[in-house]
């Protein structure tokens, strides 16, 4: 597909620690088109954030490094790109919003100055123009009294406002793709909705492509065209959003769906997926999920299932996917 602005093709990342190496991201492929949006969902430590850092080429090397595959921005592989070209790509083509709104702003400059810094450095704006535009941007992300807020330092703003400042900075470069790593985790639900609405309107109006990285399946439900569920560095299921919620075919997806609280439900205790995410260095044989999987068979502990197309863009990596889809509920519910 030529219209993909960002495309990962069997991207692998390796982690090196004390002389041992492990694949923390293993042959991950996805793409996102203009105005499109993709949700990447998984537990902490499954490699979601590392993918975003890989796209920005900001991996904490040499601890984590590329281990094969391609990252294509508008068709060009950026893994081999020289530092200067990569620098020019950042913010203007691909921008990222980081998880921690508390630490991602420089504590010694006003937020207005920090937005203006990007506008002047990367958008070739003059001092006055940049100052004016930064107030506009603060207004766009829904900050009241933006002119006054622009003069404040990050410590004077609430977590939600800081997160919106971060978004304003990311949008200031007018990127084609926005990687949003848990963009709303720290925020109140109403603010969450406003920010996601903002991203939706930018998709519609500017053709921005959004990659939403989160642990919260509910968040991506109404917000992305496609969802990729990750477990232990691999995509275990990928499907158009409606279809995924409709006919989950991987036991892990089923588990994630079962763990959500639902309105109007009587049950008081939420089901959980037993066990915990495996360490990257102690990957179980076969399918990494099999020790926690109620559907597991003998085969699952020996062979690794590949991501297979089940039709209509629904990809699943599970030997028992037919049985899972048929059952449709997490056992024990």
């Amino acid at each position: 597909m030529a219209n993909a602005v960002l495309e990962l093709e069997s991207l692998s990342l390796r982690l090196r620690r004390e002389g041992r190496t492990a694949r923390v991201v293993d042959s991950v492929s996805w793409r996102v088109a203009r105005s499109g949006s993709l949700g990447i969902v998984g537990e902490s430590g499954c490699g979601k954030s590392l993918q975003a850092l890989a796209v920005m080429r900001l991996l904490p090397r040499p601890a984590v490094d590329f281990d094969g595959g391609q990252i294509r921005v508008d068709g060009t592989d950026i893994i081999g790109l020289d530092a200067e070209s990569m620098r020019r790509l950042r913010a203007r083509r691909v921008a990222m919003i980081f998880q921690e709104p508390m630490t991602s702003l420089n504590p010694v400059f006003s937020v207005g100055e920090q937005i203006a810094e990007l506008l002047r450095e990367r958008m070739d704006m003059g001092r006055q123009q940049a100052a004016r535009r930064s107030v506009e941007l603060l207004d766009e992300v829904g900050i009241d009294d933006p002119a006054r807020r622009a003069r404040q330092i990050p410590q004077e703003l609430s977590g939600g406002m800081r997160q919106r400042v971060m978004i304003a900075i990311a949008l200031a470069g007018e990127p084609d793709v926005l990687l949003a790593d848990e963009p709303t985790t720290a925020l109140a639900v109403t603010v969450q909705a406003r920010i996601l609405d903002l991203l939706d309107s930018l998709r519609a109006n500017r053709g921005l492509a959004v990659v939403l990285i989160t642990h919260d399946l509910a968040l991506v439900a109404g917000r992305s065209d496609e969802v990729a569920v990750m477990y232990a560095g691999r995509i275990v299921e990928r499907a158009p959003t409606a279809r995924l919620f409709d006919r989950p075919s991987h036991p892990y997806t089923l588990g994630l769906l079962a763990c959500r609280p639902r309105i109007g439900e009587q049950r008081r205790t939420l089901p959980t997926i037993g066990g915990q995410v495996c360490d990257a260095f102690e990957r179980p044989s076969g399918c990494a999920f099999h020790p926690r999987c109620p559907f597991a068979t003998e085969r699952c502990s020996q062979e690794t299932p590949a991501l297979a197309d089940e039709g209509e863009g629904h990809m699943v990596a599970c030997f028992e996917s037919a049985r899972v889809r048929e059952t449709g509920v997490w056992p024990g519910v």
Binding site: L58, P62, R90, E100, S104, N106, E121, R122, M166, G173
Partner: protein, 335 residues
């Protein structure tokens, strides 16, 4: 608080008045005019500068107050040397009567072989010794920061090459390097600044590189990198403020070290030479006479001790105040 501030501010005019009473034309002499201007401006400087932030926090501690007072006092003595010194450091007395006079009413710190007033010489020595120390530390910290920053930023092979080069430079005994550099030139104070600067950057490079490396993946630094800012911009605007704490504290400690290095060089006869006066040079001229004319080496030595103690106390307190994880015991930095 205001009272103490007024006292400090008054020092300038008092020094000026003292000089004027001794000799009315003294404040306007060409070599003293700079000192006079500083003395006049001093009350305004004191009034304008209020210790804020880190400085204020550091000054809550006794060791910082003692260290700060010592350092400030010595710097002022150096700055106002022409106004404070009783006579010119080069003025020779009567070859018979004024030779080796012990400390007394006329010459507080005695006289040397040529009848020169030791108090004047120690006061003027402060100028040379402190300038060399501060200058060489500025040079070595600048150089070390550059090497450490490039190594930390680039990582990989550049890091490897630069840090191995640093290790190599560190493996040479410093004295040997200094002797090698000094051997080819006539030692002037400027040259000594260069020599001490060129042999002292290694530990700074290591410090900067070590402090910088983990911060590249931290919060706003990572964010700044993701915005495609250039390396220098990120370094000066986002990284340097973060590592300024340990760097400033370390530099302060290095000043004491540089004073000792300068006196050591001068003591060997490879440092400052006549007609310049430095504390190391003064000690050297008195080294053989310690049992008899003890004052020749004792007072410059005392000045060195006070300086080193002052800078170390100040540096220690700054390091504690600049440490984000306060209330920890300070860990000794190896040289």
């Amino acid at each position: 608080m205001t009272g103490r501030r007024a006292t400090v501010a008054a020092i300038g005019p008092v020094v000026l008045l003292f000089a004027f009473l001794r000799e009315p034309s003294l404040p306007l002499r060409p070599d003293a005019i700079g000192s006079t201007l500083l003395a006049l401006a001093w009350p305004f400087i004191v009034w304008g500068l209020r210790p804020t932030g880190v400085m204020a926090r550091a000054l809550e501690e006794d060791r910082a107050r003692v260290g700060g007072t010592l350092v400030l006092g010595l710097c002022l003595i150096a700055a106002w040397a022409p106004l404070l010194a009783p006579v010119s450091p080069a003025l020779q007395g009567d070859p018979v009567l004024d030779r080796y006079r012990p400390p007394g009413m006329e010459h507080w710190l005695g006289t040397d072989l040529l009848g020169r007033d030791m108090l004047s010489r120690v006061i003027h020595g402060a100028r040379v010794s402190l300038s060399i120390a501060v200058g060489s530390v500025v040079l070595s910290v600048g150089l070390g920061t550059l090497v450490g920053a490039v190594a930390g930023w680039r990582g990989g092979r550049v890091d490897g090459v630069l840090m191995r080069a640093t290790d190599l430079a560190l493996a040479f005994p410093r004295v040997f390097l200094i002797l090698l550099l000094v051997a080819f030139t006539y030692p002037s104070p400027q040259w000594i600044v260069v020599v001490l600067g060129l042999t002292g950057w290694m530990s700074v490079a290591r410090l900067v590189r070590g402090e910088l490396r983990p911060r590249l993946q931290e919060g706003y630094v990572l964010a700044a990198r993701s915005l495609g800012f250039g390396a220098w911009r990120i370094f000066f605007r986002h990284l340097l403020p973060a590592i300024a704490g340990p760097l400033i504290a370390f530099s302060t400690l290095r000043v004491g070290n540089a004073i000792l290095a300068e006196s050591f060089l001068s003591f060997l006869g490879l440092g400052v030479q006549d007609p310049w006066v430095s504390w190391g040079l003064l000690i050297r001229s008195g080294r053989d006479l310690l049992t008899g004319e003890w004052w020749l080496a004792f007072f410059p030595g005392l000045a060195i001790v006070l300086t080193v103690v002052g800078f170390n106390l100040l540096g220690d307190a700054l390091r504690a105040a600049l440490d984000p994880r306060r209330h920890h015991d300070p860990v000794a930095l190896e040289d």
